[in-house]
C-alpha cells in the first residue's frame, strides 16, 4: 500500500540532500578584487599614515542586532543607524580619531580659531566629492548646518549648536571656506563641528524646503539615489536582512602610496537579531566580527581563537556606566494629587535619601570586587565617573570615592542615630521607621539585575532592607522621568561621541533631564546644585584645556562627595575579529570595530607550508 508514502519520503530526502550539496564550496576566502581606480585623485588628498599598507578587495561582514532605521544621518537616533551613516556613508569637516582620542581634519584640511575663541575659519579640501562625483563645497556645509540647527527637525545634537543661548552664525566667503561665529567662547566648538555630517545640498535641498527632509533617504529610498559624503556609498539594503556598502569612488582619503581608500570592496551589516545565532554565524565563518559578546562567553572565545582563526581583542573598560541613584525629586505640578513642593518619595524616605551620610554609607556597603568577580566574571573595573577608565583624555584616576568599607558604613549609620532596637535585623530611623527601600532596574540587563541582588545582600549586612524589582525598560524610564515612582534605581548612561564631558552636561546641570537624582530643577535648589551649574558652564566655555580639566575634576568630586550617583563597576569589552584583516584597531568608543573600517584590508593569503 505504502508505495506512495515511500516515494514521498525518498523525494523529500533527495531534495534535502540536493540542498545540502548545493551549498558546498564558496567559503569566504582571500579574494582580491579587480578594482581599478579610474578617477583622478583630488587636489587636496587626505593622506593617512597607516601601520600597514593594504591592497584593494575583499569584504567585511559584521553582525548587527537591529537594522538601520534611516540612511539620513541627521535624522538617525539609534546606534544601528549611526553605525552605517556616521563615518561610513557621511563624513564631517573634522573627525574624532578613536586611536589617539583627538580631533583630526577630514573634509576640512585645516582650521583656525581666533584668539578670543569666537570666530573659526574652516578650509575645505579641494576635489573632495560626494558619491555621485559632485564636488563638496561650502554650500553643502552651510546646508548641513542649517539642517542641524533647524528648530523643527529634532537633530539629537541640536542643543550643542546654541552656546550662550544663541545659534552659531555660519557663513561662506568662498566655495572652499566656511566661517563659524559663536556668541561666546565655547570649548565644545571643534567636537560639535565634528558632529555635523555633510549632506548633499544638490540632492536634499528640495526635500528640506518642502518640509519632507525627515523622511528623505529613508530605508525605502532606492540605494542608487542616495548620495553621501563619506568613504562609503550605499550599494544595497534588504529590509531586516542586510545593508551593503561599497567604496565611494571619489573619496579623498589615500594611503602613503597614493592608493585610494577604502581598501575593502564591500562592508556588509548583516541583521542577526538573536545573539546565539550571531555566535553560530561567527563560528560558521559567515560573519567576520561580533560586537556585544557577553562576559560569560569571553572564555569560550578566548579558547577558540586558534581553531577559528580569530583574535579576541580586549578593548578595555566600556564608556557606558552603571550607578545607583536615589529619588530626591519634588512634586512640580498638581496633576499627581500631591502637594506641590512635597517630595515624591514621601517625607520619611526623603529625609533618609537626602542625607549625605546615608548615601555615603550605601556606597561604602557595596562590595564592588565581589560584584566584578561574580556578576562580571572578573571582566569589570571599578568606576567613579561618567568618564570611565576607558576614556583616555578625560578619565580622572584619583577622584573622591567611597569604596567598600563595611565598618565605615556601619559607623555612618550609627552616627545617624539609627539602630535595630527590636532585634529583627532591620535598623529603624530616629522616629522608629524600619529602613527599607525599593531598588528598580531594567530586567533586560543581566549585569544590572544580578548586581541589584548583590547590593540587596550587601545592604542587609548594614541592617537596611532592599526590595530589588527588575522592570521592563519602558516602565523604568517612565518611572524615572515622567511619574517619579521610584525610590532607588540602578541604571546607566551611554557616552556621547566624542566622549567629552561637555557631552554629558545634561547629567550635571540641575536643569538636565539625565540629572536623575533631581531632574529639571527650574532653578538650582541647593548651593551644591548651583555650584555644579557654575562648574558645567565654566567647563563648556573655557578655552584652556587645563582649566577644563580643573572644572571637570571639581565637578566629579562634588558629585562623588555628595554621593548623588553611587557608582558601580563597568564592563571590560572584548570582541572577536577574524585574523584575515589588516589595520584592525577596535576601540571602546562608538563604532567600536568599524570606526576605521575604510583603512581595513584583507591580508594576502599566507603561503602554505
Amino acid at each position: 500500500m505504502s508505495r506512495g508514502v515511500w516515494c514521498l519520503g525518498v523525494s523529500a530526502a533527495l531534495l534535502g540532500a540536493a540542498l545540502v550539496a548545493a551549498g558546498c564550496g564558496g567559503k569566504p576566502g582571500y579574494a582580491t578584487s579587480k578594482y581599478v581606480d579610474t578617477h583622478p585623485l583630488p587636489q587636496d588628498t587626505l593622506t593617512v599614515d597607516l601601520p600597514e599598507i593594504g591592497t584593494h578587495g575583499g569584504r567585511f561582514v559584521l553582525a548587527q542586532t537591529n537594522p538601520p532605521r534611516t540612511f539620513n544621518s541627521a535624522m538617525a537616533n539609534e546606534s544601528s543607524s549611526y553605525d552605517v551613516t556616521d563615518g561610513r556613508l557621511y563624513a564631517t569637516l573634522v573627525e574624532f580619531d578613536n586611536a589617539t582620542e583627538t580631533m583630526r581634519p577630514q573634509l576640512a584640511k585645516r582650521w583656525e580659531i581666533s584668539p578670543d575663541g569666537l570666530v573659526s575659519t574652516w578650509h575645505l579640501r579641494r576635489g573632495a566629492a560626494f558619491t555621485d562625483g559632485h564636488p563638496i563645497t561650502s554650500a553643502d556645509v552651510l546646508f548641513s548646518f542649517e539642517i542641524y540647527m533647524d528648530d523643527t527637525l529634532h537633530v539629537s545634537m541640536y542643543d550643542f549648536f546654541k552656546p550662550h543661548g544663541k545659534k552659531f552664525k555660519v557663513s561662506a566667503p568662498d566655495s572652499y571656506t566656511v566661517v563659524i561665529e559663536s556668541a561666546g567662547p565655547y570649548a565644545m566648538l571643534v567636537p560639535v563641528v565634528g558632529s555635523v555630517y555633510i549632506h548633499p545640498r544638490h540632492m536634499l535641498e528640495r526635500a528640506y524646503r518642502s518640509g519632507s527632509f525627515a523622511s528623505a533617504y529613508n530605508v525605502g529610498t532606492p540605494p542608487e539615489s542616495i548620495v553621501t559624503s563619506g568613504p562609503w556609498k550605499l550599494k544595497e539594503y534588504v529590509a531586516n536582512e542586510k545593508t551593503v556598502l561599497t567604496r565611494n569612488p571619489y573619496w579623498c582619503g589615500v594611503d602613503a602610496r597614493g592608493q585610494r581608500l577604502p581598501y575593502l570592496d564591500e562592508l556588509v551589516f548583516m541583521i542577526v537579531p538573536d545573539q546565539n545565532t550571531a555566535a553560530l554565524k561567527f563560528e560558521a565563518g559567515e560573519v567576520d566580527a561580533l560586537e556585544d559578546v557577553k562576559p560569560e562567553n569571553y572564555q569560550t572565545y578566548a579558547s577558540g581563537q586558534e581553531k577559528g582563526n580569530f583574535t579576541l581583542h580586549e578593548l578595555g573598560p566600556a564608556l557606558n556606566t552603571n550607578f545607583l541613584v536615589f529619588n530626591l525629586n519634588r512634586v512640580r505640578d498638581g496633576r499627581s494629587g500631591k502637594r506641590i513642593g512635597s517630595p515624591h518619595v514621601g517625607p520619611v524616605k526623603y529625609a533618609w535619601f537626602n542625607n549625605r551620610d546615608f548615601r555615603k554609607a550605601i556606597s561604602k556597603a557595596i562590595d564592588r570586587e565581589a560584584i566584578i568577580k561574580s556578576v562580571y566574571y572578573g571582566q569589570g573595573v571599578k568606576n567613579w565617573s561618567t568618564t570611565t577608565p576607558g576614556n583616555k583624555t578625560w578619565h580622572t584616576p584619583d577622584l573622591v570615592h567611597y569604596d567598600y568599607d563595611l565598618e565605615g558604613a556601619k559607623r555612618l549609620i550609627a552616627g545617624l542615630g539609627w539602630k535595630d532596637s527590636n532585634g529583627d535585623g532591620v535598623v529603624e530611623d530616629t522616629h522608629g521607621n524600619p529602613v527599607r527601600f525599593n531598588l528598580k532596574t531594567n530586567s533586560s540587563n543581566r549585569l544590572r539585575v544580578e548586581s541589584a541582588n548583590f547590593i540587596k545582600d550587601d545592604l542587609a549586612k548594614l541592617g537596611i532592607q532592599v526590595d530589588a524589582t527588575p522592570l521592563e525598560f519602558n516602565s523604568l524610564i517612565t518611572n524615572l522621568r515622567t511619574d517619579f515612582q521610584f525610590e532607588c534605581v540602578l541604571l546607566g548612561l551611554q557616552s556621547g561621541t566624542p566622549p567629552d564631558p561637555g557631552m554629558s552636561q545634561n547629567v550635571y546641570r540641575s536643569s538636565g533631564i539625565t540629572h536623575y537624582w533631581n531632574v529639571r530643577q527650574p532653578r538650582p535648589e541647593t548651593a551644591v546644585e548651583a555650584r555644579l551649574d557654575a562648574l558645567v558652564e565654566a567647563n563648556v566655555t573655557a578655552l584652556n584645556p587645563a582649566e577644563r580639566q580643573r572644572t571637570w575634576v571639581e565637578m566629579q568630586n562634588l558629585v562623588n562627595e555628595e554621593s548623588f550617583l553611587i557608582w558601580l563597576p563597568t564592563l571590560v569589552y572584548k570582541v572577536p575579529i577574524r585574523n584575515r584583516f589588516g589595520n584592525i584597531h577596535p576601540s571602546v568608543i562608538p563604532h567600536r570595530i568599524i570606526w576605521n573600517i575604510d583603512k581595513v584590508f584583507v591580508k594576502p593569503k599566507p603561503a602554505r607550508a
Binding site: 506512495g4 539629537s156 531586516n240 551593503v244 537579531p273 554565524k281 561618567t386 551611554q494
Partner: protein, 322 residues
C-alpha cells in the same frame, strides 16, 4: 453561497475596528512612549524631548490620536508612518508579510506533506512498531520547544556547513541566476520551515490516523473489501477521501495561526518576517507600526478562517451556506 461570503467579508470591518481599538488602548496603557528609546542618550535635553513629542503628535489626548488614525485609515487608506523609520507603515509591513507567508507556506508543506502520509501509514499498520515509532517521534517533536530545536539545528548547520546559519538569502544572492537564487532561498528556508512545521505535525498526524481508523471500521469499507478491491484502492480511494474532511477545516485555521506563530523562529533564524517587525515595534512603542501589523495579522487570521469554512463546503457536499 455568494451572499454568505459577502456577509463574512463585511463582518471583517467591525471586527478589525474592534481589534484596532483594543490594540490602541493597550498601547496607551503601556508605560512610556516611543521617545523612551532615547532615554540613555545624555545629549538629548528635556526641551528637545518635548518638541519631538509634539511633532509625533504624542502630546495630544489618546482619543484625538486614535480619531486621526481612523480618519486617515478610512479616508485615504493610510496606515500612518513609523516613528523610527519615517516610512509608511504599509510599505514596511508588505515585505515582512510576504516573507512570513513564504515561511508559513513552506512550514505548511512540511506539516501536511508529512502528517497525511505518516498518519495513513500509522493507521493501516495500527499497533505495529511503525505506529508506535511514529507516535514517539510525534510526541518528541511536539514537546521540544522551538527555541531549542531551532538552535540545535543551527548548531548542526554551523558545525557541518551543510546549510546556512539563518537568514533568508546569502550575501551573494544577487549575483546568482534564477535557478541559483531559488536553490539559495530553499537552502535558507529548509531549517526554519522544518522547525515551524514540526510542532503541529504530531497533532495532525494523530488526527489523520484516528479519522482513517474510524472510517476503516465503517460498513462501506467492509463492502469494498468484500467486493474484492485491492487494499490500496480501498484505503486511498474510498476511505481516505472521507477521513480527510476534518483536516481540511484545520488547514484553514492553521494558515492563520502560522502567520502569528512564527515570531520565535523568525528571531532565531534571522528571518525577515512580520513577527520580528512587530516585536521590534512593540519594544520601541512605534505605535502605528504596531497597530498596522496587528491588523494585518488579524486580517490574515480572519481570512484563514473564512477559507477553512469555504473549503469544508467544497469538500463535503452536505455542508451548504445560505
Amino acid at each position: 453561497m455568494r451572499t454568505y461570503v459577502l456577509r463574512r467579508l463585511f463582518q471583517i470591518v467591525p471586527l478589525l475596528l474592534g481589534i484596532s481599538m483594543l490594540s490602541f488602548a493597550l498601547l496607551q496603557l503601556a508605560p512610556g512612549d516611543f521617545l523612551n528609546t532615547v532615554a540613555e542618550n545624555p545629549t538629548v535635553s528635556a526641551e528637545r524631548l518635548e518638541a519631538m513629542r509634539r511633532s509625533f503628535g504624542l502630546d495630544r489626548p489618546w482619543y484625538v490620536q486614535y480619531g486621526l488614525y481612523l480618519k486617515n485609515l478610512f479616508l485615504h487608506f493610510d496606515f500612518g508612518e513609523s516613528f523610527a523609520r519615517h516610512q509608511p507603515v504599509i510599505v514596511i509591513l508588505r515585505e515582512g508579510l510576504l516573507n512570513t507567508l513564504l515561511l508559513a507556506s513552506a512550514a505548511a508543506v512540511v506539516t501536511w506533506g508529512l502528517a497525511i502520509p505518516l498518519g495513513v501509514w500509522a493507521a493501516v499498520r495500527q499497533y505495529s512498531w511503525v505506529d508506535k515509532g511514529l507516535t514517539v517521534f510525534g510526541v518528541i517533536g511536539l514537546s521540544i520547544p522551538e527555541v531549542l530545536s531551532g538552535l540545535l539545528l543551527l548548531m548542526l548547520a554551523a558545525n557541518t556547513g551543510w546549510l546556512p546559519v539563518g537568514g533568508m538569502r546569502s550575501i551573494d544572492h544577487d549575483q546568482l541566476d534564477t535557478a541559483g537564487k531559488t536553490v539559495d532561498l530553499l537552502r535558507h528556508l529548509a531549517l526554519p520551515a522544518l522547525v515551524v512545521g514540526f510542532t503541529p505535525l504530531a497533532g495532525r498526524m494523530r488526527q489523520m490516523r484516528g479519522n482513517l481508523l474510524d472510517v476503516l471500521r465503517l460498513d462501506y469499507v467492509t463492502t469494498a473489501r468484500a467486493k474484492g478491491l485491492s487494499e490500496n484502492v480501498v484505503v486511498f480511494k474510498h476511505a481516505l477521501r472521507n477521513a480527510i474532511n476534518p483536516l481540511i477545516t484545520l488547514f484553514g485555521y492553521t494558515l492563520g495561526a502560522l502567520v502569528s506563530g512564527s515570531l520565535i523562529v523568525e528571531i532565531i533564524f534571522s528571518w525577515p518576517g512580520l513577527g520580528r517587525i512587530t516585536f521590534d515595534a512593540i519594544m520601541t512603542q512605534d505605535q502605528y507600526l504596531v497597530l498596522g501589523s496587528v491588523m494585518m495579522a488579524s486580517f490574515v487570521l480572519i481570512l484563514g478562517n473564512l477559507v477553512a469554512d469555504l473549503l469544508l463546503a467544497v469538500a463535503d457536499p452536505r455542508i451548504a451556506y445560505g
